[in-house]
């Protein structure tokens, strides 16, 4: 019995690059969306799932630190990211992404979020190696996130 259902199907034999992995995660988020979403919403979901997977395995502090660094590097080329927050306990962020999409358009929002995800994965890869990035992201992504928000 595979303990982590679905874990293996997103773990390829050869570790993909951060760009490839980011695209795969966005595509996966699009497939798993409850209703058809815009590319920007799928990219946002992929960022959130990845962030939560990392928070689970490396801790909230670690995930926050990586995300903050990724954001500071990406915001130069994608200033709209200043208006988007991806927080561990912030579940009510759909409104934020809706507003950003309305203001900057789907394509620009999706490009910014995908770039953010790519940089986040690159930074993580520099620490633990690309092979482990896939494993860590897959672990959290397929197990499902824990709703820490519900805890007191």
């Amino acid at each position: 019995m595979v303990n982590v259902p679905g874990a293996t199907h997103i773990i390829p034999a050869k570790a993909p690059s951060s760009t490839e992995l980011a695209r795969q995660l966005v595509a996966r988020a699009a497939r798993n969306g409850k209703s058809p979403e815009s590319a920007a919403h799928s990219a946002f979901s992929a960022c959130k799932i990845t962030y939560r997977a990392l928070a689970r395995s490396i801790g909230v502090e670690g995930a926050n630190a990586l995300l903050a660094r990724a954001q500071s590097q990406t915001v130069k080329t994608h200033p709209l990211l200043r208006e988007i927050g991806i927080g561990h306990r912030d579940d009510d962020d759909t409104a934020k992404i809706d507003a950003v999409v309305e203001k900057h358009g789907i394509a620009a929002s999706a490009a910014g979020l995908e770039a953010l995800l790519e940089v986040l994965l690159t930074l993580l890869g520099r620490f633990v190696g690309t092979d482990l990035v896939v494993r860590l992201v897959a672990q959290g992504a397929t197990i499902g996130t824990h709703e820490h928000e519900d805890t007191p």
């Binding site: 019995m1 595979v2 303990n3 982590v4 874990a7 293996t8 773990i11 928070a55 689970r56 395995s57 490396i58 801790g59 909230v60 502090e61 670690g62 990586l66 561990h88 993580l124 620490f127 633990v128 190696g129 092979d131 482990l132 896939v134 494993r135 860590l136 897959a138 672990q139 197990i143 824990h146 820490h148 805890t151 007191p152």
Partner: protein, 573 residues
């Protein structure tokens, strides 16, 4: 020594006394634990920061994790997971392919900081129920070691209560758990020490320029663990523990009543037929007295007889040592190629005795060695970490005891400093550890530096009590006859007792003297003529002629393809 990265998981060993053991995957640790970690036990890994606790836990976890029964690694408060993964990934046991499936990392530091321990416990239960792990690691309980049982805030779970609940939950989950705890050694009153089924305590001690890591198993419920402090080393492959008392010592091999030929002409006779198999022999002598030549000749003789040999060197680089040995024993190169020879080179200044012993025992087992040469004890003493040098006698006692228990015969060399009567083998008196002792020394006779040796001790065996002359040449060492006509040899400047001089030649056997006299008389002779005059069979002359030639008394020429032996003129005394 290397531990290969392998996907194969150590199987649960058959139960010794009911509860099965889980193999740790850490070389040497299972022996210390009395077989392994009891299944479903709760184990505490405590120690100072940097002692190797996390690495030990990770190594055990990777050795036992499977997709069916994974391992969960909870980070509560400790090294940030990102950093931990970055460094642990460097070890050979860390298999990235297992991460995410067989090995899952769960970080609970957020809960531990923001909430109370009941939330941490609830998250653990949730994860364990989901994953059904075989192994759970909780890293770390620095807080547990220093605090008392008071709750951190009113209405919140106290640490004592948390530990108690954790122990109960872990047992009911049927997992083998490892709790990592930072401790400065003052935390023995922590409830964790009481609740845990096994406690591993890791320390790292810096002494002068060396660092020695030690592991102590404070307790293991239901197992007879090995007491004492066991050194360990962290290499690229992870931890390796060197048990104080190697397993072989528990299974002492019965000694055959054989004698081993030393390969040094004349020495076997003086020793009553060679070195008794299984003995530990110590050869002491001043610098340049030929100790290494004797030792390599002993090794080469073993190889020549088809035995397997291990040589441990501390002072010379292996290439130099071997090239010197090859120069003296031309056959040795070919025999080394045959694979029944290991040269162990140990030079670092932070070695532990247990580590050295493990390396030698491994080589002995690997090639089935019957002879071990340690060249030299003086170098060994220097190679040890200062902490072990202080206990050199005890260390050597353990080394020799463990090695002889395997049935090997040990030939050790050691440098002797000081004058003969008071000469000590090393700075520590270690002679009681050995079965046989041979001492070499320089003496001066008529302004010429000569070498003699004496057999000081042979347990349970008759041996020569004479001072025997010996020569070391490019061809090797040869032991001659007794130096009988002198007195005051111990002073280093003996005097000839002229009234006792008999016919014959100093240092030669009766037959050798007869052969030499015959050659002097005849002015040269072929083998057949010589045999006729001396009155022995031709084949019996071979050794005698070889020794006389090596000692410089005779030379051989060839005329029409026939060997002719001649005496070389000796200066009279």
């Amino acid at each position: 020594m290397t531990t290969k990265k392998s996907r194969a998981k150590p199987a649960i060993r058959p139960p010794d006394i009911g509860i099965p053991n889980i193999a740790t995957g850490v070389p040497g640790l299972d022996a210390v634990l009395g077989g392994g970690v009891p299944e479903f036990s709760m184990n505490l890994i405590a120690g100072n920061p940097g002692a190797g606790k996390t690495t030990l836990a990770q190594q055990i976890m990777f050795a036992n994790a499977t997709e069916e029964r994974p391992a969960l690694y909870f980070t509560v408060l400790g090294e940030p997971t990102l950093k931990m993964l970055r460094y642990q990934k460097e070890f050979g046991f860390f298999d990235p392919a297992l991460v995410g499936s067989a090995v899952q990392y769960v970080n609970l530091s957020d809960e531990a900081v923001d909430y109370d321990l009941s939330v941490v416990l609830a998250r653990m239960i949730e994860e364990v129920e989901r994953a059904r792990p075989r192994v759970v690691v909780v890293d770390s309980f620095r807080i547990a070691m220093g605090q008392g049982g008071a709750p951190s805030a009113p209405g919140k779970m106290s640490l004592d209560a948390f530990i108690q609940r954790l122990a109960v939950e872990m047992t009911s989950w049927e997992v083998t758990s490892f709790i990592i705890g930072d401790s400065n050694g003052r935390g023995y009153r922590s409830p964790m020490f009481t609740v845990a089924d096994a406690v591993f305590f890791l320390t790292q001690v810096a002494d002068r320029n060396s660092v020695v890591r030690k592991l102590q198993v404070l307790k293991v419920r239901g197992r007879a663990s090995m007491p004492g402090l066991h050194t360990f080393r962290i290499t690229k492959q992870g931890l390796q523990v060197f048990p104080r008392i190697p397993e072989q010592q528990f299974e002492r091999r019965p000694m055959p009543t054989l004698r081993l030929t030393t390969g040094i002409p004349g020495l076997d006779e003086a020793m009553g037929g060679g070195i008794p198999a299984g003995d530990a022999l110590m050869l002491g002598g001043p610098a340049g007295s030929g100790k290494t030549t004797f030792a390599t000749q002993f090794a080469a003789e073993g190889l020549r007889r088809g035995e397997s040999v291990v040589i441990v060197v501390f002072e010379e680089y292996p290439e130099e040592y071997l090239s010197r040995a090859k120069a003296r024993n031309q056959d040795i190169a070919a025999m080394i190629e045959a694979g029944n020879f290991r040269l162990i080179y140990l030079r670092p200044l932070d070695l532990s005795v247990d580590e050295t012993l493990a390396e030698i025992l491994e080589a002995v087992a690997e090639i089935g060695a019957s002879r071990v040469v340690i060249d030299s004890l003086s170098g060994f003493q220097i190679a040890l970490a200062p902490a072990f040098r202080e206990d050199f006698r005890e260390s050597l006692y353990r080394l020799v005891g463990a090695l002889t228990a395997t049935g090997v015969t040990i030939f050790m060399t050691t440098e002797i400093a000081g004058g003969y009567p008071e000469a000590a083998f090393t700075t520590e008196r270690v002679s009681f550890i050995t079965d046989d002792i041979i001492v070499q020394r320089f003496i001066e006779i008529d302004g010429v530096l000569r070498t003699v040796l004496a057999i000081h001790k042979m347990r349970g065996s008759a041996h020569s009590h004479d001072f025997l002359t010996y020569e070391v040449s490019a061809q090797g060492a040869v032991v001659g006859g007794p130096l009988r006509n002198y007195r005051g040899i111990l002073t280093g400047v003996p005097e000839q007792q002229r009234q006792l001089v008999r016919e014959g030649h100093e240092g030669l056997t009766e037959r050798e003297s007869m052969v030499l006299d015959t050659l002097v008389r005849l002015g040269g002779a072929s083998r057949i003529i010589l045999a006729e005059h001396v009155g022995v069979a031709m084949e019996e002359l071979a050794d005698t002629i070889t020794r006389l030639e090596l000692l410089g008394y005779t030379r051989t020429t060839r005329t029409n393809g026939k060997e002719i032996f001649h005496a070389i003129a000796q200066s009279s005394t």
